[in-house]
């Protein structure tokens, strides 16, 4: 499921930006380009962090960016960027962010399986370091595929 909603065309490695707002914009633009969201959804993701805080840096070096379905999601989808240099979001312990994922959910159910697989991915050993080291989108997508397939087999 994760592999279906995250296409290699929505992955960019080595993104160079100045701040967390630009990280969110960049990741959001990948969803916009594929017409998965309305442009307003990007602003909603930024506002969500302003309102709720940088807890979206859910794990060491990883930010998960999203807003609500009614903020302008057309279709379930995800994008991923790796950041060079890493960017501070203001989180008390998980900064700086090296990998940012953005997604748009259409309801409370359809993305559940993808979130479960994303959890599996993010709990694999040295995942941030490994994802950050991949030099292009295809290699990064390939890596994610391998991690999820090996977990499925229970290795």
């Amino acid at each position: 499921m994760l592999l279906e909603i995250l296409a290699p065309t929505r992955i960019i490695t080595g993104v160079e930006v100045e701040n967390w707002q630009e990280v969110t914009k960049k990741a959001g633009e990948l969803l916009l380009k594929d017409e998965l969201i309305e442009e307003e959804y990007i602003t909603a993701m930024i506002n969500s962090i302003k309102e709720n805080g940088p807890y979206v840096v859910l794990a060491q070096g990883i930010a998960i960016l999203h807003a609500r379905p009614e903020d302008g999601v057309k279709e379930l989808g995800m994008s991923l960027i790796t950041l060079d240099p890493p960017i501070e979001f203001g989180h008390q312990s998980n900064d700086p962010v090296e990998v940012a994922l953005a997604f748009g959910a259409v309801d409370e159910e359809k993305h559940v399986e993808a979130m479960s697989e994303l959890t599996t991915l993010l709990m694999s050993d040295n995942v941030v370091e490994k994802m950050h080291a991949k030099e292009d989108a295809d290699k990064l997508y390939q890596y994610i595929t391998e991690v999820l397939n090996s977990k499925e087999k229970g290795e």
Partner: protein, 96 residues
């Protein structure tokens, strides 16, 4: 039965991933419990034994629920942290 809510801003992403790992540590110890997700706003009308959330959310959540019931997780993927804090909170409940 033990009731736990994982709380985040929207109740859609972060709390869902947190829920998965809370369920994992309960299962390890064969602790029966219901774990659901909820947004901060919607949590107001709900009650539970434990509310689990993230650092930035905790103050807002504490305005709505007893601080004693709230557990704060810094890194949801750190199963060691989730295990220690959740099991600690469950132990505390059992003592009361």
């Amino acid at each position: 039965m033990l009731k736990i809510y994982a709380v985040c801003g929207h109740g859609l992403g972060s709390s869902m991933m947190l829920k998965i790992n809370i369920r994992k540590v309960l299962k390890e110890k064969s602790i029966e419990g219901e774990v659901d997700t909820v947004s901060l706003g919607e949590s107001s009308g709900l009650d539970a034994d434990i509310f689990v959330t993230f650092p930035d959310i905790v103050d807002e959540l504490a305005n709505r629920h007893d601080r004693e019931k709230i557990v704060v997780i810094d890194d949801f993927s750190d199963l060691e942290e989730v295990r220690e804090k959740i099991l600690g909170a469950v132990d505390k409940l059992n003592l009361n």
